[in-house]
């Protein structure tokens, strides 16, 4: 495969609000790694988990519109696992069905591009690894025990069953930064997404299971692949509390200290005491 050097960029609502720092960290990292990312102009919500169940027609139009905005001859990068899954499935659905393509063209007034690749940041990892992007000068996570958390990111609907999966990608990044992924049983347990708002008691019980599992695995922190998971785990943790980092935090670490200042302050469960104890950061940086 050719080196990907240019992508169009779909941030999604979360990375533009609750995950603004992650977005910034990710974009600077891409820039540093020689990948040009251009945000789609006037993109709209992917429909989140809500629209499809209320109005499937609207959901189609929202996803179709985003796909129609993507420029040709470059992949579209959507780092949020939720948006990514929906966009990728819809692209594939259209690509497989001429009838649906006609519907797309009628809805969007544009020709459907069957060659568009919708990718996640994790699809870029093999290329980045080859180029040594995660090998910072020092092993920045040395001694840190990390419980890697994928949530629902590893589960896929049948339409994507032949696509490559992301098993082990975060473990590899953690290891190459000097950290130690711990074995634990909840790495692909669902975070509860919107139930955190609609039925908080359920999510509190589930998060307690996840957090106590991480403690049992002797993890110093949990690293998530999704900003929604990160937020849910932090905000619904009551009894057992382990700091939860988003994987862009790891990326910030790979990039060196200057990027760290911002994200450390934004956590609901302060990760600095643990990180100071392990010597990952010095007191001044926190």
């Amino acid at each position: 495969m050719d080196r990907i050097s240019k992508v169009s960029y779909f941030p999604g609502c979360s990375l533009k609000s609750s995950g603004a720092d992650s977005n910034y960290a990710l974009l600077s990292f891409l820039e540093k790694s020689g990948i040009e990312a251009k945000e789609l102009k006037d993109w709209n919500c992917c429909g989140s988990s809500s629209v499809k169940g209320i109005d499937p027609e609207l959901s189609d139009k929202l996803l179709g519109r985003n796909l129609s905005l993507a420029p040709e001859k470059m992949p579209m990068l959507s780092p949020c696992p939720g948006c990514h899954m929906k966009l990728r499935c819809k692209q594939k659905e259209y690509a497989q069905s001429p009838v649906k393509q006609k519907k797309f063209e009628k809805d969007q007034g544009k020709k459907f591009n069957p060659d568009l690749d919708v990718i996640n940041f994790f699809d870029l990892v093999p290329q980045l690894e080859k180029e040594g992007a995660f090998k910072s000068q020092q092993k920045s996570l040395k001694g840190l025990k990390v419980a890697v958390y994928y949530g629902c990111m590893l589960s896929r609907p049948p339409i994507l069953k032949n696509d490559s999966n992301y098993y082990g990608v975060m473990e590899r990044i953690v290891k190459s930064l000097g950290g130690e992924p711990v074995p634990w049983s909840h790495s692909s347990r669902c975070c509860g997404t919107y139930l955190s708002a609609a039925k908080p008691e359920i999510v509190k019980r589930s998060v307690e299971t996840i957090m106590s599992g991480a403690l049992k695995g002797k993890a110093d922190c949990i690293v998530t692949a999704c900003s929604m998971c990160q937020l849910n785990l932090e905000m619904r943790a009551e009894k057992s509390k382990v700091p939860v980092l988003f994987f862009s935090d790891l990326i910030s670490m790979a990039m060196g200290t200057s990027q760290r200042k911002n994200w450390l302050k934004r956590h609901l469960i302060d990760p600095s005491p643990g990180l100071i104890k392990k010597g990952i950061i010095c007191k001044k940086a926190s």
Binding site: C13, K16, S17, S18, A20, D42, W43, N44, C45, G47, S48, S49, S50, V51, K52, G53, I54, D55, P56, L58, K61, L62, G64, R65, D107, Q108, G151, C152, L154, S155, R156, P157, P158, S188, R189, C190, G192, T193, Y194, L195, A197, A198, K199, P200, I202, R205, S206, L231, M235, K265, R266, H267, L268
Partner: protein
């Protein structure tokens, strides 16, 4: 004997045919091996486990299924789908059941459905989701003003919730051209 109320659509065709038509899933290929239930993160919170829902559908117990809590606790994470040895897309079945339940007016004062409706309003208004407004509207609808106030304030303080919807820099700049398409 008590009369069992069965939906017309489901009577004209068999339940399995209707589900197949709407979700593309053949529920009759289920063995009831419970893999879906063991992989489910929230099966403990459900009134019927996922494998029970499939069995009930096979038996034509449509009313009970559409009135169950289960279909609203499922967040469609697709763990069940991934694990199924019979290739049943359970998450798609659940999605179909939620739409059916709404259509059949089996949904009253449902927290999850209310939340979804508020998100859809936000998307229709701004083209994007405005998390702060969604949360506030939901709390007002549920008349629940205090349960999450501490977390809400903390999130606000940590700049995780923003006053303006995403992508807009000033208050006048709210609507995206998404309107043209919807």
């Amino acid at each position: 004997m008590e009369k069992i109320e069965i939906k017309k659509d489901f009577l004209l065709k068999s339940v399995s045919e209707t589900v197949k038509e709407k979700s593309g899933v053949n529920i009759n290929s289920c063995w009831n091996c419970k893999t879906c239930t063991s992989g489910c993160s929230f099966s403990e919170e459900m009134d019927y486990h996922p494998h029970q829902i499939l069995r009930m559908l096979q038996l034509g117990m449509v009313k009970e299924v559409l009135e169950s809590e289960t279909i609203w606790i499922c967040v469609a994470c697709s763990s069940c789908t991934m694990g199924c040895p019979q290739n049943i897309d359970m998450a798609a079945v659940m999605e179909t059941l939620r739409l059916e339940a709404v259509e059949e007016k089996k949904v009253k004062d449902n927290d999850v459905h209310d939340f979804h409706k508020i998100v859809v309003e936000s998307v229709e208004k701004y083209g994007k989701t405005h998390k702060l407004e969604v949360m506030m509207k939901y709390k007002i609808k549920k008349k629940d003003f205090f349960s999450d106030i501490n977390i809400g304030l903390k999130m606000f303080q940590k700049r995780k919730l923003k006053i303006l919807p995403p992508g807009s820099k000033k208050p006048g700049d709210l609507l995206t051209s998404v309107k043209g398409v919807l």
